[in-house]
Symmetry: C2
């Protein structure tokens, strides 16, 4: 490229974002420079702002701006139902479906022998504690329908068996499918038809 050092560095860094390759990074940066006042400067400010304000909820692992996220703070949510998801993108996908009115627990990934990710890396001990302390009546294991997702679901079910009703998303989640790729209707159907494990 020959747009100067800063712009070359910006393109290189933008190209690292998921969904953007070198070509779309170049397009995006040209757009940003063209709309300096309307897009580039507000975006820089907003990123700086998010870097300062956004943090993980200490209870559920969702993103928020204080020690507790908006969902954990919302007293209208049903605290007796706890939906376990792999990551924040999955929590957001559940929320977009608008069906679930309980609370969440974000694991931060799945168990993986290959990547040496054990229960301690996944907030699973925290989940077991929450179920014991919060009077949880039902844990919905909304993990992805992948091998690692299902292995993780089985491990969690073993840990919690006997202490709480355990359910999983059922109808509508395609084999190998990831929650964040599904439409809202599919998620709603899967949640309504959830079955005991």
């Amino acid at each position: 490229m020959s747009g100067g050092r800063d712009i070359d560095a910006l393109i290189e860094m933008m190209a690292k974002l998921p969904g953007l390759g070198p070509r779309s990074a170049r397009r995006a940066v040209l757009q940003l420079v063209r709309k300096r006042e309307l897009l580039l400067m507000p975006l820089a400010d907003l990123m700086q702002q998010v870097a300062i304000t956004t943090r993980e909820c200490t209870r559920c692992g969702n993103l928020g701006e204080g020690p507790l996220c908006l969902i954990c703070l919302d007293m209208k949510r049903n605290g007796s139902e706890l939906c376990v998801v792999e990551d924040v993108a999955d929590l957001w996908a559940m929320e977009r479906s608008g069906t679930f009115k309980g609370r969440y627990h974000v694991l931060g990934g799945t168990l993986s022998a290959l990547d040496a990710i054990g229960p301690e890396e996944l907030r699973i001990p925290e989940l077991v504690n929450r179920v014991a302390e919060e009077g949880t009546e039902e844990v919905i294991l909304a993990l992805n329908a992948t091998v690692d997702g299902q292995t993780t679901a089985h491990y969690i079910a073993e840990q919690l068996e006997g202490s709480v009703r355990l359910t999983s998303l059922a109808q509508g989640v395609p084999i190998g499918g990831e929650l964040d790729y599904l439409d809202d209707g599919t998620i709603t159907a899967a949640l309504r038809a959830r079955k005991d494990i």
Copy 2:
């Protein structure tokens, strides 16, 4: 979404960038928050930096960090060959092919009766001046093979006829094709086989 006001605003703004929809904007923002020190903060700084330093070259319309861009400042470039392109993305595509050693003139678009874009909006008067003042021997019209691109090329050819050798990219540019989508080899071939108009 429920990640707080700042993060929702950031996702919304990122989704406006070309190549990113709402879904990839959410993924990108989650990645940014996960890599706060490594990605989010440096990206915010870099955007602020680019907003301050980057500007249009006063001579050719390329992006750069001073009144003249790096290509205009490069004394090893052949000043007698001038390549006319629609926008900066096309200039960058030409540069990636590594074949052209002359200088550029970025029009900033194409003539369009529909959008009321006339020669004055396109730095065409500046092009005519440059050819007269810089001792240009050849003008290569590297405009996109679209109707508007070719209309613009014909208009420019009329303005410059008789004062300079006029050529256009030839072999290899597919009908309706845009330069920025072509591979480097195609651009190189088209440039080598350029023909007089």
